[in-house]
């Protein structure tokens, strides 16, 4: 039977524990502290002045669509430095259904060896 107390119980994982309710309480307290500290800051922000205009080292501002970094350019450095990994992965993903079946046969072969059929 599910009781109200069971909603508050800590989740035991064997070696550790996890209680999201305590975590959320801690996060709320942390946000409150940040909010209070923020109140001590200087209020220099003025809307619709030079302060809020886009400044690109004196260069003109591009069209909005050109300013947005496209999805495939995000993490460009990561994918570029791991080009060799992606080359192998791209070779695997041919999009050809016969290759899909070939991989199935290969895995089945390995399993036959492991289980001791071959």
């Amino acid at each position: 039977m599910i009781t109200w107390e069971s909603f508050l119980e800590t989740f035991e994982t064997g070696s550790g524990f996890w209680n999201p309710l305590i975590w959320i309480t801690a996060i709320i307290v942390a946000f409150l502290i940040i909010y209070i500290l923020r109140g001590y800051g200087k209020k220099e922000y003025k809307e619709n002045t030079e302060q809020t205009k886009v400044f690109l080292s004196g260069n003109p501002e591009y069209e909005k669509e050109q300013m947005h970094i496209k999805g495939s350019n995000v993490y460009w450095g990561f994918t570029e430095s791991l080009k060799w990994v992606y080359k192998t992965l791209d070779k695997m993903h041919t999009g050809n259904v016969s290759d899909y079946i070939l991989w199935f046969v290969i895995i089945m072969g390995i399993l036959f060896i492991l289980v001791g059929v071959i």
């Binding site: 989740f11 035991e12 994982t13 064997g14 996890w18 999201p20 947005h68 079946i101 290969i106």
Partner: protein, 529 residues
Amino acid sequence: MNIEHLSQTLLTHSPALIVAVPLLGAFLTPLISRINDKLRNVFVILTAGLTGFLVLLLSHDVLINGKIHTYIFGSQDIGSPVVRILFEVDGMNAFMIIIGAILVFVAVVYSWAFMKENTGLDKYYTLILLMAAGMFGMMLTGDMFNFFVFLEITSISSCALIAFWTNKGKAVEAGFKYIVISTIGALFILFAIAILYGQYNALNMAVLANSIQYTFLDKIAFVLLIAGLAMKAGIVPMHMWLPDAYGRAPASVTLILVGTTQASLYALFRVCFTIYGNSLTAPLKQIGSVTITLNGFLGTFIVMLAIITIIVGVFMALKQSDFKRTIAFAAIAEIGYIFLAVGAGLWAIGTPHGMMALKGGIFHIINDALDVGLLFLVAGAIYYATKETSLNRMGGLARNMKYTTIFFLIGLLAVSGMPPMNGFASKLLIYESIYLINPILAIVAILCSILLLAVFVKVFYSAFLGPKIPRFNDVKEVPKSMLIAMGLIACVIIFFGLFPDLIVNNIVEPAANALANNSNYISQIIGGS
């Protein structure tokens, strides 16, 4: 007839009704469609709702009261040679049908507005209900051949739904690939069933589990079943059909496809832990004084395959520029985490660590279905509003689609295993259990989870943040039925995240116990204690 008697009758027949209601609904849908489109939509939602109610009724009895339900179609005499099909519902079956019921109900609610502009919706809803019936059948049956039949029903209806947008060539191609892969996988499964039937003159899972001697033929059947089901589940390197199918199907269909993939994973669990459960500790090789057992060997292989699945899934997701393909590759990585838990559970079978791994894996099945499902629905919502799927052409949508953005954030945090979402608790169990096998594997799994967060931060930035793009000035928030569907899943995710102990104790643990102790499952049919 009083209410108590009615609920008892419903409970007794619920295993059959859970399959029969959507099946009957599927055949009635085209007829009702002729009367009125709105009436058809209401009828389909009511059918999914009634199925969900029956699932709740049955699951409550199995999970909370600890009963195993057996439903016999055909002769009641166990010694009779006549054809008989058995549905057997233990903790694991009950757990799986809960996932199925949530996904089907949410999918039909979402479809109301999402598919409104399409033609041929009578066929669409018929196929959706047929797919649901097949999926529930796969999850409930205790008969191997019957499992194959339901697998085929699911595959055929899934193929038609993947290719539903026939005006897009790539959808048809994805449907073709799916049916080729499904048919070949199913053929090998059928071959394995034939081998087992030829040897033991039985198709019932419990009878087979009690009879299996782990002979040479049993080994062949074992490999065929594992390979066939692993391909249907999307394990690397047999995963390539999955991004094609998930990426091209309508979002509501993808949601149920996630459920059918989970049903194949369930069957894999059933084969390993129930049917071959008594043979798992069988010695394979003797090297000096060390005996290598099947579970150790197979567990290690599955853990390796799972790590490769996670790495390939995450790395491929990182470079995608199509919204749905990105989520599809992330879904592959998530399946890798479930497989990792299966491997660890097999490796340490019979120990508390093995049990912890099983619990982690089972908990992650439902979390994966919900988290990935929500992300697919968000991708569908964005397609509905902008007619765009490429991340390169999106941006600044958070301004126009506030609720969808919040749902994406919930899905993003949950799928990446960020606290306090549901994915965190299940991944914590998986990390701990795999750490005991090899700490390096646990580190790789954690790093990949961080990369998964990076993947979705990229998606979040590309689609929702950035300057307001003039092309999307007129984009509006999606209709209410789609928001309700996404909201339903988001609420379940938050609930599971806030009360993991409650979920593990009441839903996950009975499922893990059902898998770990196959004797209860067997004795229900064969008799004995």
